[in-house]
Symmetry: C2
Subunit: 418 residues, 2 copies
């Protein structure tokens, strides 16, 4: 297997140098494992879209919510449980995986899919966000970023090229370009300059994938990331520039970093018009169910967020009738399920009373059951949204769901789960 | 349902007072839900026994290892995973469950089985061990023990009668008598007096079950506990006294508290001869796979221990070739399963390299996968022991297993799991 891969690389590299010096060549794309990602829009309702995103690890039905597996594990959830919940794609993070287990381990394992034994699609974030937010930043220049690991202080340097190399070694189905995610608030001038750099880095990532072929025999798509803080003119520049680079998809980054909901929706809506309509759109790091619904309505296809799993670990559960803090005394003898309409393992099997007890007694099972349920809820939202779009009733369905989400969860004292 | 239970209690209490004033009456046993636990020995090989223990929640095949679910959850394991592992019975702890969630919650839920939604047998420890070891002890007298909760300092009193009431309210299939588990080392005189009290308490528990009928329509057995530290004469007294009380089973308590392995085996072997051979024997809180095998050979049928789950959470994994600390650097690129001969989810799906990574990055999934595997290993040991006893090859099988357990786990660098 290893031999075959190495031989393939050798031949591809050779072949490229001699016959295919140009970029954006279909044949080259095919040979370097960067075949155009197929995205098929199968329905549209207003701006909301339902689509099929084809990867070599399976077809993803959009709109989709992608559980976050930063370090190669969606926290407190087993892979077979992800399957059971209808997970179609998970995230991994280049920064974290680069530090641990390190590229040497991932390479020896044969890529991230094999290392973690997850055979469905994986999207890897470039690590830009983490380099700028987590690490001890040493130096940022147009070439790249020198930083110290948040774990052991070791110095590393990320460049657009090195990040593409990492993502090739991870072998994710969807790679993200290396970008600077500006903090909020952010001066216009900083945002403008940062975005110019991000656009140049995007171009370099775009070139790098052509010079660094896929390693594991499956194709890897590359998404551009629109930045520009809350400034429409920068967002427009960014989106227009990236659109000319023929990415496989386009992400809107740098939102949900502290700006108002109003700004978030406005920027999403504004940016959308400059993105190629035949490519998938991914709103990074967002968010609450209501944010997801509002953004689907504005033409977004893909979402990821740590909220369902992180909040689960804090005892905050999402239901069709709003959120609940399961630690509250009111659930002490509430023998109804977390969400009577939910079909997940947690809701089929256990009561609020038992789950509360598990949280109060600090049992790990509390984290497992809560995470299963919250992910089930987010995946359900995306699945139902898709159905509603296909059936051309998205707006009315969304209003109904939002109205219910804003009610308090019913306290059903007498109904037993079993 | 509640009405039916209350009515039944009323009639039974009435019936008892009028017609059945005596103890140890079969009809009474039947009516108060304390039908004789059926224990059928189906094979014996030396002193090692294979049996069937019938409860209203299912038949347990002995020898058996019982995973510990102290607070109503086997740590980091879902119920369906316990099922998958072949778990036949789990433990709950009266002391912990009395404090949290409290008897009021358990009663309203309809007992522990319903509260935690586990429909197979449950054995509840009486909480004696915890009262004496965990709590701030206030007062111990022949009547019972006054103590302060280790959680909030609230004062409580446990007596043999109140503990039976708790176990009735929990509704466990096997209740344990309230005893004092002496610490180690322990003066002869202290051990003797303590045991005399434990024997008197056992007698009171034995009477209490007859005056406090079962609450949930299923039978609950009661086991006596032999104490006596490492002193054969006290152990003999204890065992002989308890044997006259016609318990459904007999536990050997107060071992694995610091004494030598040699003492532990000697006391187990010595005590066994005084226990009714037609009743199940349970060695409490033991132990390592080798301890379990040695004790099966000495005639023990039932085991429980936190070792498989607790050690799992510390990264110590049991394999057929000894234990391994999965955090060790040697497993960094070891793409073989934890135990190639193990059929558990962890070993079927994941590599040592990935599990090590999960531990190093403090992922909750590490605890889940390690706990699944360790429990699988312990349940496998008990299952295989049973087979060997039935096939009259226990001694040779045990030697073979022990020899393998003492080797170091093979480092298989090149074999991939997938």
């Amino acid at each position: 297997m290893t031999t075959v891969v190495f031989l393939s690389i050798f031949y591809i590299e050779d072949f490229k140098k001699i016959i295919l010096p140009g970029r954006r060549n279909c044949l080259l794309r095919f040979f370097v494992g960067w075949a155009q990602l197929k995205f098929q829009r199968i329905a549209q309702d207003g701006k909301a879209r339902a689509g099929l995103l084809e990867t070599d690890h399976g077809v993803i039905e959009t709109p989709i919510f992608m559980p976050v597996g930063t370090q190669g594990s969606v926290k407190a959830i087993e892979h077979r449980e992800l399957d059971e919940l209808g997970t179609q794609i998970i995230l991994g993070n280049s920064y974290h995986l680069f530090l641990r287990p390190g590229m040497n381990v991932v390479l020896q394992a044969g890529g991230l899919h094999r290392f973690i034994n997850w055979q469905k699609p994986i999207l890897t974030d470039s690590g830009g966000f983490q380099v700028f937010s987590l690490s001890d930043l040493r130096d940022i220049d147009d070439g790249g970023v020198t930083f110290r690991s948040h774990l052991d202080g070791a110095e590393h340097r990320f460049t657009p090229e090195s990040v593409i190399q990492i993502e090739r070694q991870l072998g994710s189905d969807i790679m993200m370009v290396f970008d600077e995610c500006t903090p909020y608030p952010c001066e216009f001038e900083y945002a403008r300059k940062s975005n110019e750099m991000t656009v140049r880095w995007a171009e370099r990532c775009r070139i790098a994938v052509e010079h660094q072929p896929a390693l594991y025999g499956h194709s890897q798509a590359l998404f551009g990331i629109v930045q520009g803080s809350i400034y429409p003119e920068i967002r427009e520049m960014s989106a227009r520039a990236l659109a000319t680079m023929d990415f496989d998809g386009y992400a809107i980054g740098g939102l949900a970093v502290g700006e108002s909901l109003d700004d978030m929706y406005k920027i999403t809506e504004f940016t959308e018009q400059f993105l190629p309509s035949d490519k998938p759109r991914y709103l990074m790091g967002i968010g609450l169910p209501e944010n997801i619904l509002e953004s689907i309505e504005r033409g977004v296809d893909m979402f990821d967020c740590v909220i369902p799993t992180r909040n689960a670990r804090n005892g905050m559960l999402f239901t069709r009738r709003g959120t609940m803090n399961i630690r509250n005394a009111q659930y002490k003898t509430d023998f109804s399920p977390v969400d009577a309409e939910c079909a997940c393992y947690t809701c089929r099997m256990f009561t609020r009373s038992y789950i509360r007890h598990l949280f109060i007694t600090k049992e790990i099972l509390a984290l497992q059951l809560a995470s299963i349920h919250n992910l089930a809820h987010f995946l359900w939202i995306a699945r139902e949204a898709r159905k509603a779009i296909i059936e051309q009733r998205f707006a009315s369905w969304k209003s109904m769901v939002l109205a219910k989400l804003q009610t308090e969860p019913a306290i059903i004292q007498e109904t037993s789960i079993s």
